[in-house]
């Protein structure tokens, strides 16, 4: 009855709700990639990291619920997802800094390795249900259940939103932020300043992967809230493209993540009101959107403003 009462209004409402639910993985991965690329390396493998994070978070939440209780278990899962991310980041950072090794190729290998490992270790966790992260209702005053449901957010998402300005401040004003920018823009200058390029990049890639792992935890522990092999549909990869669109600015990563979260919600929103003619094509809309954005923001004539100078350079 209530579902029919709002009719077509259900579409924008579902898209807003979908944005609030679905943006967080984009946000975490894009912030992680932003940090990584600021130091002058690309990590295409965050898709694999995302899957490892999702699997380990779900597994830990499921296995520890008995000992630490189902309120703490998911947060323990989030922590372990971050640690799994650190591990994946370490492999990427070490390998991509070897001489003559191409960081893009390492990223592809890490996608295959990370997803393979996550599927392998995650086999036992496909069936059981683990305690999920709690939701915070922003619109509990509303009488309409759809509105209440749409305006539910997760604490992790709020943390992600807080990280964006924090990271921006970090790059602009702190000493460490300056080091990272120096390493990414002009490694020679960084060397002259006495900074270890290798260490800075190692730390940036690992911290970036930590964030991507947490993005994965959000997927399996909040939305969609279960572990399966199809849980990530390329969010990790799109987030990498999103950083180019956001011009390596953490605040703009935030807006771009909202845009992508919203695009992802279009197909389910239309399906919910009975339009499922082009379901698969609408489902592809985030990919098409990413591609269009890249076509419009890139140009062969100039390098994009904000791009770290040493990005894509060989070792």
């Amino acid at each position: 009855m209530a579902a029919e009462a709002i009719g077509w209004w259900g579409v924008p409402l579902a898209i807003i709700g979908g944005t609030l639910r679905g943006s967080a993985p984009f946000l975490f991965v894009s912030l992680g990639e932003c940090l990584t690329e600021k130091s002058g390396k690309i990590n295409l493998g965050l898709e694999g990291t995302l899957l490892m994070g999702a699997m380990s978070a779900y597994g830990v939440s499921y296995l520890t619920q008995g000992t630490v209780g189902s309120a703490i278990a998911p947060w323990l899962g989030v922590l372990v997802a971050g640690i799994a991310g650190l591990g994946m980041g370490f492999i990427h950072a070490w390998l991509s800094q070897q001489p003559k090794v191409n960081d893009v190729a390492v990223g592809i290998a890490m996608i295959i390795f990370g997803s393979g490992l996550a599927f392998y270790l995650g086999k036992p966790f496909i069936q059981p249900s683990a305690p999920n992260l709690p939701a915070i209702g922003l619109a509990d005053w509303s009488s309409m259940p759809q509105v209440r449901q749409a305006f539910q957010v997760n604490l992790l998402f709020v943390i992600g939103i807080a990280i964006a300005p924090l990271m921006s401040w970090f790059f602009k004003t702190t000493r460490w932020g300056l080091f990272i920018r120096a390493v990414g823009d002009s490694p020679e200058a960084a060397l002259a300043m006495g900074i270890s390029i290798r260490k800075v990049r190692m730390l940036c890639i690992m911290a970036g992967s930590f964030l991507a792992g947490i993005g994965g935890a959000y997927l399996s522990l909040y939305y969609p809230g279960s572990w399966s092999e199809r849980i990530s549909s390329g969010q990790g990869l799109m987030a990498v493209a999103l950083v180019i669109f956001a011009r390596w600015n953490p605040i703009q990563c935030l807006w771009a993540s909202f845009l992508f979260g919203g695009a992802q919600a279009i197909a389910p929103a239309l399906q919910a009101i009975g339009i499922d003619g082009g379901y698969y094509l609408f489902n592809a809309s985030p990919y098409i959107l990413t591609l269009l954005i890249m076509i419009f923001t890139c140009s062969p004539k100039r390098t994009i403003t904000g791009a770290p100078g040493a990005l894509g350079a060989t070792n």
């Binding site: 390998l95 390795f113 698969y280 890139c298 140009s299």
Partner: protein
């Protein structure tokens, strides 16, 4: 003329990838024993499933055929300095092209004509798909790795939309599929290999042609020059844009042909079985072969064998099917690490030339 210098170079180029493969086998063994399986039982099972008998070797060749074709989709653009991983998408688009032709009224013609038309359509579809990636790269400077990977998802969505919608055979209930192509138009088996279809011949021919094109023609030389140094190529007056588009078209058409082979020889119809990971495994084949088409055909057979052993590992040793992906990932990482070893190992170093540099061609 071969001298000891290039001999050592060749030896290095053969030994390092083999050592990398062996080392990743060792790492995989460690992984298996951590998972509670006896690594030697795993090796034995892989060997038996892949190369143990004529029957299983044919099974391996069956899987190697599409891998040879999809690996060219990464290997050819790599000579131009592009990292393209749209193999899966091009394969799917090729499959769509093949099924469109295979279901059209052209299938009244003799089988050989229909198959030829299907192959041409598949190559055109796949070729244009990757040529678009090349065009975006050249005219808009869009990162080709990301765009080609995104286009994989788009191609798969397109396929799903077609087989769930306009092309759907109403009798396919659980797995939405297109109508089947007539049995007469399906690719036959190679004589004396009752389980292997002609796709293998396509794959080998494509690899040989690609090798000669890249290594022995001016076109290939121009492409390698542009891959080595784009600025120098532009100054030399090479049409870098046209080269990019041509190489990308050829690359995509190889992967597209793999889609046709899968449709015309294996499935007989288009459905989601078309994305059976041949595209992603093809990337690995190209990197292990260091983008050499002839080497790719050999690596494809090795890797095809490992893929063929996946179900045996699952049945006999109770290892999940994802084990094969873990192994692929390990191989990929180790092979990338091995790139850093070229020129660093003493045994492969050319002996210090005692003669003036001009006369090194005469050897030592």
């Amino acid at each position: 003329m071969l001298n000891t210098g290039t001999g050592r170079r060749t030896l290095e180029a053969i030994c390092i990838p083999i050592a990398a493969l062996l080392f990743s086998l060792v790492l995989f063994g460690v992984f298996c024993s951590l998972a509670g399986a006896n690594p030697f039982a795993v090796y034995a099972a892989i060997y038996k499933a892949a190369f143990g008998s004529w029957f299983s070797f044919q099974n391996t060749l069956l899987r190697a055929a599409p891998l040879m074709l999809t690996s060219l989709c990464t290997a050819l653009p790599a000579r131009l300095g592009l990292v393209i991983i749209g193999n899966e998408g091009a394969l799917v688009m090729g499959g769509i092209g093949a099924i469109l032709v295979g279901l059209s009224s052209i299938n009244q013609a003799p089988a050989i004509v229909t198959q030829f038309a299907m192959a041409i359509a598949a190559m055109t579809f796949g070729g244009l798909w990757i040529a678009a990636v090349g065009a975006l790269r050249h005219y808009r400077a869009v990162n080709e790795t990301i765009s080609s990977l995104l286009m994989n998802y788009i191609a798969i969505a397109f396929l799903n939309q077609l087989v769930e919608g306009v092309m759907r055979d109403p009798t396919s209930l659980n797995k939405p599929s297109s109508y089947p192509i007539p049995d007469a138009d399906r690719l036959g088996m190679i004589p004396f290999m009752p389980r292997v279809h002609y796709g293998l011949v396509y794959g080998i021919i494509a690899c040989v042609i690609a090798y000669f094109l890249i290594q022995r023609t001016t076109f290939g030389f121009a492409a390698r020059t542009a891959g080595g140094n784009v600025k120098a190529a532009r100054i030399a007056g090479l049409p870098v844009g046209k080269l990019t588009m041509a190489i990308c078209f050829l690359a995509g058409s190889c992967a597209g042909l793999a889609g046709m082979v899968e449709i015309a020889a294996v499935h007989g119809r288009a459905n989601e079985s078309l994305n059976a990971n041949y595209g992603y495994a093809g990337i690995l084949v190209a990197f292990v072969a260091r983008h050499n088409p002839i080497a790719a055909s050999i690596v494809a057979i090795l890797l095809g064998g490992i893929l063929a052993s996946g179900s045996i590992l699952q049945r006999q040793l109770n290892l999940p099917d994802a084990t094969v992906y873990v192994f692929q990932g390990l191989v990929f990482l180790v092979v990338l690490y091995s790139e850093s070893l070229y020129g660093r190992l003493k045994i492969f170093k050319e002996p210090e030339p005692s003669l003036p540099t001009g006369s090194t061609a005469q050897g030592v």
